[in-house]
Symmetry: C2
Subunit: 260 residues, 2 copies
């Protein structure tokens, strides 16, 4: 959408892509990578347990729901709104009687589900999301015990889900959403005639996890991802898509003895 | 302000500095530079005309109001709320009977007050704000006729107000506010333990100039300038102040024959 800006020489261009679109696209990339690995490993899924129900957990749950019985655990009960009613949802592992799963996926990251909980469960395959990304520092790497949890687990097939490409400190979908929008803003500012670009950059996690206001969270995430002030017409959606295309996800296979 | 984040390992830190504080600080830097130049040039001010009433115009008007009779012209009548009632405000030069001024300051930038209007006025000194900054591109430099307007004016003393330091495409206070917050976010992300930083980045100009909603504009500008998700306590206000300190303003003196 293009409108006249502060003077008649300047236009304001707003992306049709919203923050939600960016977050969903990133979560979809992660989920697609997981599904491709399941296919490659010829995993036969009857039941799947997912720890962590945020963008990544929700994208995985909705895709795997078509293939197996899916159960999701998250400490925040209000997140259950993110998934359909067919999927079982619990806030603690003690509420789940089953101890044996075809596949367990841990998306909880820093400070997430503890080692004891995961090691008490049996599964044919375990995927743990690495919260570290290409620009993680020593503080963040030291704070994460996800690789250790994965390495010491008894599952016969194990994979570390990694996401990189935008030089972020973590691989979190919200981190990458903010980074993609900011990367696109910086790229838009390199174009001739751009005065400045503003990427959507609220702090929706505070609304979701502190205020627990799902409606307000959805309102914030529905805002345009990028707005620019420019002398010329620019395809801002294309700039955003270019930044999203830099994000890479992969599953690194881990043996029990590997130091991944 | 520090709160628990998405898990107990992560904290959220919010700056006490708001977007308004950043914008006012930048406008104050520009106004201080103008006042220092007035002093250095021993200008005796009886009446001052300012074109453009946004952050910079408002900061200049409130400071100069203590020294001379100040008149401000802006095409947007609702901006009159930004200044006190002692200052004369008009939306067009035709409403102003006076043609001779101690000082005229043009802050209108790209697509601003036209050459004919400025050249029809007499003054002891003329200051024109250069909309270009340290990262301006050819499109923006070509679109600006501010230097030409200044060079061809009959005023005996002339200065070009320039603002640089954050590699922005223009010197606009709003551009610099967005850039300072984004620079601080990038610096905060370099600190060990920061997961990600989010700088305030609404598009308040749309609210102010398109919707003309001053209350909503003030609400948006009152939001914290920076929020970070981190494993460690960090002084986010100090990070913002460091970014603001990089902004440099100066007045480049211009002779009628100079090619500035």
């Amino acid at each position: 959408m293009t409108e006249t800006g502060i003077t008649s020489s300047v236009i304001t261009i707003t992306s049709t892509l919203r923050e939600y679109d960016l977050a969903n696209e990133i979560a979809a990339k992660k989920a697609d990578t997981v599904l491709a690995w399941i296919e490659k490993e010829h995993l036969s899924l009857s039941n799947v347990l997912i720890f962590g129900l945020y963008f990544t957990g929700a994208a995985l749950a909705s895709r795997l729901d078509k293939k197996a019985k899916v159960t999701v655990i998250d400490i925040y009960p209000h997140l259950a709104e993110l998934i359909n009613g067919r999927i079982d949802f619990f806030t603690h592992i003690s509420e789940v009687p089953c101890r044996r799963w075809s596949l367990i996926i841990d998306t909880t990251g820093l400070g997430g589900v503890d080692k004891q909980t995961l090691s008490s469960l049996y599964c044919d395959a375990l995927i743990v999301e690495d919260p570290c990304s290409d620009a993680s520092d020593m503080c963040i790497c030291s704070a994460s015990n996800r690789r250790e949890i994965l390495m010491n687990h008894s599952a016969p097939k194990k994979g570390l889900l990694t996401t990189t490409g935008l030089n972020t400190k973590t691989s979190g979908t919200m981190t990458l959403t903010v980074a993609a929008a900011r990367h696109a803003a910086a790229e838009a500012e390199k174009l001739c005639g751009t005065l400045y670009a503003v990427s959507a950059a609220d702090f929706p996690e505070r609304i979701l996890f502190k205020e627990r206001d799902m409606l307000q969270f959805q309102a914030v995430m529905s805002q345009p991802a990028l707005r620019i002030s420019s002398l010329k017409e620019i395809d801002v959606d294309a700039v955003l898509r270019e930044s999203l295309s830099l994000i890479r996800t992969e599953i690194i296979e881990v043996e029990t003895d590997d130091r991944c």
